[in-house]
C-alpha cells in the first residue's frame, strides 16, 4: 500500500514533468504534445516509484528497463531522465535540434538512459521481450516495462509479441497501454476498434488490469500487482486523456503533433504551473 504522502510526492513530480515537457517543446515548433502528456503519470510512477534505477549509473546491468515503444512520446522520458539528473535539465531545450542528444524519437546510442530505438510503431514489445529473455539467459533479476500507445496496437507485430511473452512465461515483463483513444488523425476506434482490449490480451495469455492512467494510487497499485504475477506477463490498460493537463489540448486530435503559438504556449505553461503549485501546496499543507 502506497502512502498518501507518497502519492502526493508522485503527483507533484508528474505535474513537474508535464511542465518540463511543454517547456522543452516551446512555441513555434511542431511537437507531439498529446501523447507525451497522456503518458506523464505512468512514466512518473515508473521512474520515481517502481523501477530499480540508479541515476548515477544508468547503464548498471541490473537496472530495470523502460522502453518507450510509442516513441513519439519520448519527451516524457527525457523529462524523467532530466529530473533524475541523468541529463542536465537545461539540455531539454535542445530537443530535436541539430546536434542534440535528444532526438525526435528514441535513439539509445544518442541518449543515456534509453534502452532501445523506436519511432516506427509496433516494434517495442518484441524488443522488450528480448530484454526480458536476456535477463533469464543471463541470470539477472531486472524487470522490463514497455509503454505502448493504443493506436500502436493496430500494428500486427504487437500481437506477434503478445503471443511470444506468455509463451515464454515472461513474468519479468509488464506491458502498459497508454489508452488515450486517439491516434494521429482520428479516434483509434474509427479505423480498427481495439475493444474489448482486456479480453483480447487475456485471450493471448496475459494477466490484465484496467486502470485510470491519471490516478497515481491506481497506477502504483497496478504496477505492484504486475510484478506479483508468477505465471503470466502483465498488461496494464491505462485509460488516459490525450494532452492531459492542458485544457485546450485535452482530447483534441488536432494536437497530436502541432506547433503552439506564443500565446497558446504561455497559456499551457500557466495552467501547468498552477497545477504544480496546487499539488505542491497540498503537500506542504
Amino acid at each position: 500500500m502506497v502512502t498518501p504522502q507518497e502519492i502526493r510526492r508522485l503527483e507533484r513530480l508528474a505535474a513537474e514533468m508535464r511542465l518540463q515537457i511543454v517547456r522543452m517543446m516551446g512555441p513555434g515548433k511542431a511537437h507531439h504534445f498529446g501523447g507525451s502528456l497522456s503518458a506523464a503519470d505512468l512514466v512518473t510512477a515508473l521512474y520515481f516509484y517502481k523501477m530499480r534505477f540508479d541515476p548515477a549509473n544508468p547503464s548498471w546491468p541490473d537496472r530495470d528497463r523502460f522502453l518507450m515503444s510509442k516513441g513519439h512520446s519520448v519527451p516524457a522520458q527525457y523529462a524523467a531522465l532530466a529530473m533524475l539528473g541523468v541529463l542536465p535539465l537545461e539540455e531539454l531545450a535542445t530537443l530535436k535540434q541539430l546536434g542534440s542528444r535528444l532526438q525526435g524519437h528514441p535513439a539509445m546510442h544518442y541518449t543515456p538512459g534509453l534502452e532501445g530505438c523506436t519511432g516506427s510503431l509496433g516494434q517495442g514489445l518484441s524488443y522488450a521481450n528480448g530484454l526480458a529473455l536476456a535477463a533469464r539467459l543471463q541470470g539477472r533479476s531486472y524487470r522490463v516495462y514497455c509503454l505502448l500507445g493504443d493506436g500502436e496496437l493496430h500494428e500486427g507485430q504487437v500481437w506477434e509479441a503478445a503471443m511470444t511473452a506468455p509463451q515464454h512465461r515472461l513474468t519479468n515483463l509488464t506491458a502498459i497501454v497508454d489508452q488515450n483513444g486517439l491516434k494521429a488523425m482520428d479516434a483509434v476506434a474509427a479505423a480498427k476498434d481495439l475493444e474489448p482490449l482486456d479480453e483480447r490480451f487475456a485471450a493471448f495469455g496475459w494477466a490484465v488490469r484496467r486502470i485510470d492512467g491519471h490516478n497515481m494510487a491506481e497506477i502504483c497499485a497496478a504496477l505492484d500487482w504486475a510484478t506479483s504475477q508468477s505465471e503470466r506477463p502483465a498488461a496494464i490498460l491505462a485509460r488516459t486523456v490525450k494532452g492531459k493537463g492542458v485544457s485546450f489540448i485535452e482530447n483534441q486530435v488536432a494536437y497530436h503533433n502541432v506547433a503552439l503559438t506564443e500565446a497558446q504556449h504561455a497559456a499551457a505553461i500557466a495552467e501547468l504551473t498552477a497545477r504544480l503549485q496546487e499539488v505542491t501546496g497540498c503537500q506542504s499543507a
Binding site: 546510442h109 534502452e115 532501445g116 530505438c117 516494434q123 539467459l137
Partner: protein, 310 residues
C-alpha cells in the same frame, strides 16, 4: 571432382561449433530450423535457441533486445524474408544503433529454385547494403562459410550473411582465414577481371577456364564481403585489364555489380559489365535451369565476356 556442399549446410555445422565456443551466442529462427540447419544448434543448446514461429518481425526485434543486453543473436530465415519482411525493424532497431545482430539469409538467389519468385531473393543484398552500419557477407564455399560464421560473431556491428542451398565445390583449403572486408584473388589473369560472390565464384572460375581456351586470361576475385568494400583493393584488382565484370546471383541493381561500379566510376577508368538478373523477378525452375536462363552458368558468363570484349 571436388566435394560439393551447400553453404547453408556448412553454416549449420559451423553454428553448432560456434555455440560450443561462445556462450554469448543465441540463435533465433522463424519455423525453418530444419531448412536453415539451425536445428543442430537447437538440439545441442535448447536454452539458447528460440523458435519465434512464423513471425520474422517479432524475431528480429526480439534479437535486437537480446543484443542490447550483451548477447550475440543469429537470426535465421530464408534470405527474402530475413531481409524484406522485417526491413523496418532491422533498420531502426538494429542498424541504427549498430547492435551486433547477425541476420542469416538461407536459400538465397535463383538457386532457391522451384518455389519461384516469392522465395527467390534477388534484391536482398541491395536492401541490406543500403543500411548504414550493416555489413554484407556472401561466402563462396563451405570452408569460407565456416570461417565467416565464426568471424561475424566478433564483428562489432550487424551483419547480413547470405547463404545458398546449391551444392557448390570447395574452393579453399582448411588453412584459409576469412576476414570481414577482405577480398581474395582466386585466379590470375591480365585480360579481364571477374568479380564474383557466393556460388558465382565457382562458376566464374569455370568460365575463366573456358575463356583461356579462347585466348583470354581472366583474373577471378572472390568478393565475399560486399560491405564494407574498400576502394583500394577493387581498384587494384581492376588495374591493367580491358574490362571488369561482376557476376552475382542477384539483381544487377544494388548488389555486387553496383558496389564495384560505384568504386570504379569514382576511382578508376575501367569499363564494367554487370552479369546477374536484369531487373526481373525469378520464377519456378531447377537451379541450374534458372542460372542458365540468366546467363550465369560458365558458358553464359563466357558468352557475355566475349560479347563485351568484341
Amino acid at each position: 571432382m571436388p566435394e560439393r556442399v551447400e553453404t547453408r549446410v556448412a553454416y549449420g555445422e559451423a553454428l553448432l561449433a560456434l555455440g560450443r565456443a561462445r556462450q554469448d551466442v543465441v540463435v533465433l529462427d522463424a519455423d525453418l530450423y530444419r531448412s536453415t540447419r539451425t536445428v543442430l544448434f537447437a538440439e545441442a543448446f535448447p536454452e539458447r535457441f528460440l523458435d519465434l514461429g512464423i513471425a520474422e518481425q517479432d524475431m528480429v526485434s526480439t534479437a535486437a533486445g537480446l543484443a542490447a543486453s550483451g548477447l550475440i543473436p543469429y537470426c535465421n530465415s530464408f534470405a527474402m524474408f530475413i531481409t524484406a519482411r522485417c526491413y523496418d525493424q532491422t533498420r531502426i532497431q538494429i542498424a541504427y544503433p549498430g547492435l551486433p545482430v547477425k541476420l542469416v539469409g538461407s536459400s538465397a538467389g535463383l538457386t532457391q529454385g522451384p518455389d519461384g519468385a516469392s522465395h527467390q531473393s534477388l534484391e536482398d543484398i541491395s536492401l541490406m547494403r543500403g543500411l548504414p552500419n550493416m555489413a554484407v557477407v556472401v561466402p563462396a564455399d563451405d570452408v569460407e562459410t565456416h570461417q565467416a560464421t565464426f568471424a561475424i560473431a566478433g564483428w562489432p556491428g550487424p551483419v547480413y550473411l547470405r547463404l545458398g542451398r546449391y551444392p557448390t565445390p570447395r574452393l579453399f583449403d582448411e588453412s584459409y582465414r576469412f576476414e570481414v572486408g577482405r577480398m581474395v584473388r582466386m585466379r590470375d589473369g591480365g585480360d579481364l577481371v571477374l568479380f564474383a560472390c557466393g556460388h558465382m565464384v565457382a562458376k566464374a572460375l569455370e568460365a575463366a577456364e573456358l575463356l583461356a581456351r579462347d585466348g583470354l586470361q581472366a583474373r577471378v576475385v572472390n568478393v565475399s564481403t560486399i560491405k564494407p568494400l574498400d576502394a583500394e583493393p577493387v581498384r587494384r584488382e581492376a588495374a591493367g585489364v580491358q574490362r571488369a565484370f561482376t557476376v552475382e546471383e542477384h539483381s544487377i541493381i544494388g548488389g555486387l555489380g553496383s558496389a564495384v561500379c560505384e568504386v570504379l566510376a569514382e576511382e578508376a577508368r575501367v569499363p564494367v559489365t554487370r552479369l546477374g538478373v536484369r531487373d526481373q523477378f525469378g520464377e519456378s525452375g531447377l537451379a541450374d535451369e534458372l542460372l542458365a536462363k540468366h546467363g550465369l552458368q560458365p558458358e553464359g558468363i563466357r558468352s557475355s565476356v566475349l560479347r563485351a570484349l568484341g
